[in-house]
């Protein structure tokens, strides 16, 4: 669009980084996927429904277990917080009542972090769950945006997130127009929040198109073999 500022990596403010994904890349997992927004990429594996530890057992639904490992070292409070966000976001997306007294275990390895990492994780988990054939109510996808110098920029990199006045992570499902999960930090107004939500919703629909093609291609490949 004319008049829009060009960012350090030559994107416009409403442009997300190139998306890529590989499905079923892990041999032993029930389902796996890697997903990346430019230089941010994660690898996710899903096991389940499988045996559950007695202390975690739920009588009416499956226990969802999320583990996130950072690039370097062991997980800190940052990863624990992300685990909580991801688990709670998927708690109502996975039809867990179909598999009571089992566990669905989601393991995420961050392979490269260049901003918008929570969104990258949510998208990878969604793809891995589909790949594992876990029953889902809908497809949950996420995009991050940030407000930098009063302008809303989509899919910020680490560099941009550092200077941003606020950062907003939104997750939308393909079956509803409403916000499924959101996490905003920094100082902002209500108006800005809803503006960001609208912009992210648009971006999520383009991610959804990508996900559809990715799955279609994988199925076509499988049929050929």
């Amino acid at each position: 669009m004319p008049g829009e500022t060009i960012r350090a990596d030559k994107r416009t403010s409403s442009q997300i980084r190139p998306i890529s994904s590989v499905l079923s890349s892990l041999n032993r997992a029930d389902g796996s996927a890697s997903f990346s927004f430019g230089n941010s990429s994660v690898l996710c594996s899903v096991y389940g429904p499988q045996e559950v530890k007695i202390k975690d057992e739920l009588l009416d639904r499956a226990t969802i277990d999320v583990n996130i490992t950072p690039q370097i070292g062991i997980g800190s409070t940052t990863e624990k917080n992300m685990e909580r966000i991801v688990r709670e976001a998927f708690s109502d997306v996975i039809i867990s009542s179909l598999h009571p007294r089992t566990s669905i275990s989601i393991t995420v390895q961050i392979t490269q972090d260049d901003g918008s990492i929570i969104s990258t994780i949510i998208n990878a988990v969604s793809l891995a769950l589909i790949d594992a054939g876990i029953p889902l109510h809908s497809t949950l996808l996420s995009v991050t945006c940030a407000i930098l110098n009063g302008e809303i920029i989509l899919d910020p990199t680490n560099e941009e997130m550092k200077d941003a006045s606020s950062i907003h992570v939104f997750a939308f499902s393909n079956t509803s127009n409403d916000i499924v999960s959101s996490e905003s930090t920094g100082v902002f107004t209500e108006e800005e929040y809803f503006k960001c939500s609208d912009i992210c919703k648009l971006a999520v629909s383009s991610v959804l198109k990508f996900v559809h093609t990715a799955i279609e291609r994988k199925l076509q490949k499988e049929q050929k073999n």
Binding site: N81, R84, S181, S182, E190, Y193
Partner: protein
Amino acid sequence: MAEVSNKDSFVLDANTFAKLHPKEFYRKFLTNNIRPDGRLLKKFRKTSINLNSIKSAEGSCVLKMGKTSVVCGIKAEVAEPRVDDPRKGYIVPNVELSPICSSLFKPGPPGELAQSISERIDKLFKQCKIIDLDKLCISEKNAVWVLYVDVICISYDGNIFDAALFSIISALKNLKLPEVTFIEEEGKVEASEEKTISLELLSTPLSATYVVFDKKYILADPNEEEENLSSTSLTFIYNEQHKLCGISKLGGIPLSKELIQDCTESAIERTDNLRQLLDSTMKNL
């Protein structure tokens, strides 16, 4: 006769019904716009604070919010600053949820909830400029203050984030640091016994939390049972200028813009009330 008594024994009393069908029990109340504990849907629990009750800490606050109670203590220590930020002190927030407060928590390393709340509060400090970290500098490159902000929950009945954040802000507002001088020749910091300085807060963000029950009822300030029954929660953090310092919506039920906007007014009112409570408690000290 036997038949009649049999019939009687099948009538559930309210407590048994609440245990067996907790969701149905709540629905019966919520359709009448009231909650089982007598509160209206958007009503917060009675909150009270007690300041500076821990004499060994530099600042402290005991907070009660219904049956949730937390203690916040701030310990100040002198440390060397980071090399990349030689003029900045630092703040280390930590929230502890031990088996003391509820059977939900097990002994051992902090669980996910405790870690997640500590992380959220840490992020808030980093992104919303609550304290000017330069003011925590004693001597550039040599000594700065480190504030260990510890929140310990002693009774858990839901909504721990609101309780933790309000107790931290209250304790910080009452923080009294000893006046110190850095003696360069000895590389030591000397504290004066009498003189203390307080820290100015640049902003006072406070939070209000809601849960969504059955996709349509919004309950403010949930207790433990309400938290368990609803999978979606909404937290708003407002500063004194009524600007947002954070929104987090956890959980998978989609919420429309209208439902979210519905909460913001009550959240502003709640955070303003808390601020007034803090001011009036400080005046009466």
